[in-house]
């Protein structure tokens, strides 16, 4: 059942002559984990903003095509309506968190919805618990690490009870360990809480095996879409200039795909194949 339908989407920012995205078509079903990647400036951020209505409602510009999220046509609904179905997480938590305690931060969304106080409290507790940061309730976001801040941002959006989360390079400013911690939460949100995840990410080696679909943008166009193993093992992807996981690079050079039909996405998967095949000689 599609939860996102994008048809012939093209968009140019107000003072720009070049379109940031051109003729993009994408359908996402409920429960999917879609990984979006591509070189810098390829339109990924713009696309994310189209998914929760910020474009075109807040940004203006020239918008063509249709974006339907959870049944809502984005051009006919306000951002605050769409925000209850799609949660958008940005790159820099410093510009996302603006309250003095984590509790108030996570409560901000439900407060905007004018929910009764008990409901707000229970949503805050639940959101923090799902993300695993209940102990941070009384802390000030300023004293948290980057990784913790992003988790707070995720919790703040989960408190809106959206059916899907769109995350635009959420680990860009994090060190690798924090990045991995945040990405693991996304994976469990997807598998255990049934949240549809659209993730724009460069660190493919950490997420390729979590996603069931990989979409590549290049120069504003959607150029590849398919299972991560199909996409990352294609020839086109080498020419585009994205950070292909080392395990995939090694596997490609060893011709594991053509020799054995194996396309490992992670270091462990690769090691398993080699050890097994190696034993057989």
């Amino acid at each position: 059942m599609p939860i996102i339908e994008v048809r012939a989407l093209s968009y140019s920012y107000p003072d720009s002559t070049r379109p940031s995205i051109q003729d993009v078509n994408l359908t996402v079903d409920m429960g999917e984990f879609v990984l979006i990647t591509g070189p810098s400036g390829c339109g990924k951020t713009t696309f994310c903003r189209c998914l929760n209505g910020l474009i075109p409602n807040s940004y203006g510009g020239t918008f063509n095509g249709n974006v339907i999220v959870d049944g809502l046509l984005t051009t006919e609904h306000q951002v605050f309506e769409i925000a209850q179905h799609v949660g958008l997480v940005f790159q820099n938590p410093e510009n996302e968190l603006f309250c003095t305690t984590v509790e108030r931060e996570v409560a901000f969304g439900p407060e905007n919805l004018a929910l009764p106080r008990d409901e707000i409290r229970s949503r805050v507790e639940e959101a923090l618990s799902v993300v695993g940061i209940s102990q941070l309730l009384d802390k000030s976001p300023e004293e948290l690490s980057g990784g913790e801040q992003q988790k707070v941002a995720i919790a703040a959006l989960l408190a809106m009870k959206p059916r899907m989360l769109v995350l635009d390079e959420p680990t860009a400013n994090l060190d690798p360990l924090s990045a991995r911690s945040v990405l693991k939460i996304l994976s469990s949100l997807n598998t255990e809480s049934d949240v549809t995840i659209i993730l724009v990410e460069h660190r493919l080696e950490m997420v390729a095996h979590m996603a069931n679909r990989c979409v590549i943008f290049d120069d504003g166009k959607l150029v590849l879409s398919g299972e991560p193993s199909d996409v990352l093992y294609s020839d086109m992807v080498d020419r585009i200039g994205i950070g292909i996981p080392k395990a995939v690079q090694v596997a490609k050079r060893l011709a594991l795909n053509s020799k054995f039909g194996k396309r490992p996405l992670s270091s462990l998967e690769l090691a398993d194949i080699i050890m097994l095949k190696g034993d057989k000689g």
Binding site: S40, G41, D175, P176, G243, L254, A255, L268
Partner: protein
């Protein structure tokens, strides 16, 4: 020649950002300062151009004690490129932006020795010459920030987290530039937590953890040392992890080497 002698620095009483740091970086070195967020990397490099002065110990750059020198005098030899280009760019045009440091140092703006013309050529900024910096794209602004520091030709170049927000092609380009500058004799110091970038491109590593230098030496050795990486709360580079998963006798961060070892484990030769 940069020398840290038993340097300690604290921002707030009781908590030391740097503790008993001893470090020497020589001419024409290409070195990465590695560590998790908060380990003290930025604090360390701010001592090299005098933005910070050690509370205990001494830092000397080309024989000059940083405590006896101004930031401007040290900056003449030490170029520091900050992580966020938007913290630097302010001029009306790209050309004026590049000229800023030259003006501050009293260096010539025109002529064959002009750093501005060199930078415009080197970084392919000619089409943007008369444009305001803040109208450029994110990646272009990052390049401009680097260009504006390089154009006054400092002997030592320090970059703070230069790879954030860069895709793999941009990172390769950056690495090639840094290697070339290093071959030309510059000392290049990269402050980062990007393990892949270091593993792929930078031969020497200084590893910081909680304000202390816990390791120094060849990237090949340090980045394949599991215990060391764990104690510094650092994620190993992908090839190191792969080496361990394959139980290679000699773990490596060199792609060709890992491929060759993996291939012999498979019992054949690679494509």
């Amino acid at each position: 020649m940069i020398l840290f002698e038993d340097v300690s620095y604290s921002y707030a009483p009781g908590r030391y950002a740097l503790e008993h740091v001893n470090l020497s970086i020589g001419e024409a070195e290409l070195v990465a300062i590695l560590g998790e967020n908060g380990a003290g990397k930025t604090t360390l490099v701010k001592h090299i151009n005098g933005l910070l002065r050690p509370q205990i110990g001494k830092v000397t750059v080309y024989g000059i004690d940083t405590k006896t020198s101004t930031v401007a005098a040290l900056a003449r030899k030490v170029g520091l490129v900050f992580q966020n280009p938007d913290h630097q760019l302010f001029a009306e045009t790209v050309e004026k932006e590049l000229a800023f440091a030259l003006v501050n140092f009293g260096m010539p703006l025109l002529g064959t020795s002009s750093g501005v013309d060199w930078a415009i050529k080197e970084f392919e900024l000619n089409q943007y010459r008369e444009r305001p910096p803040f109208l450029l794209s994110g990646g272009e602004r990052k390049r401009l920030a680097l260009a504006s520091v390089l154009c006054y030709n400092p002997q030592i170049l320090i970059l703070d987290e230069p790879t954030t927000g860069q895709d793999s092609r941009q990172k390769s380009r950056l690495a090639n530039l840094l290697k070339r500058l290093n071959r030309e004799g510059k000392t290049v110091i990269v402050v980062t937590h990007d393990m892949e970038f270091v593993a792929d491109f930078i031969p020497r590593v200084v590893m910081l953890s909680k304000g202390r230098v816990i390791a120094e030496g060849l990237a090949e050795e340090i980045l394949t040392n599991r215990e060391l990486l764990m104690s510094a709360s650092l994620l190993p580079p992908q090839l190191a992890e792969l080496s361990w998963d394959l139980t290679l006798k000699k773990p490596s961060i060199d792609l060709e080497q890992v491929i060759s070892e993996a291939s012999s484990l498979l019992g054949g030769s690679p494509r």
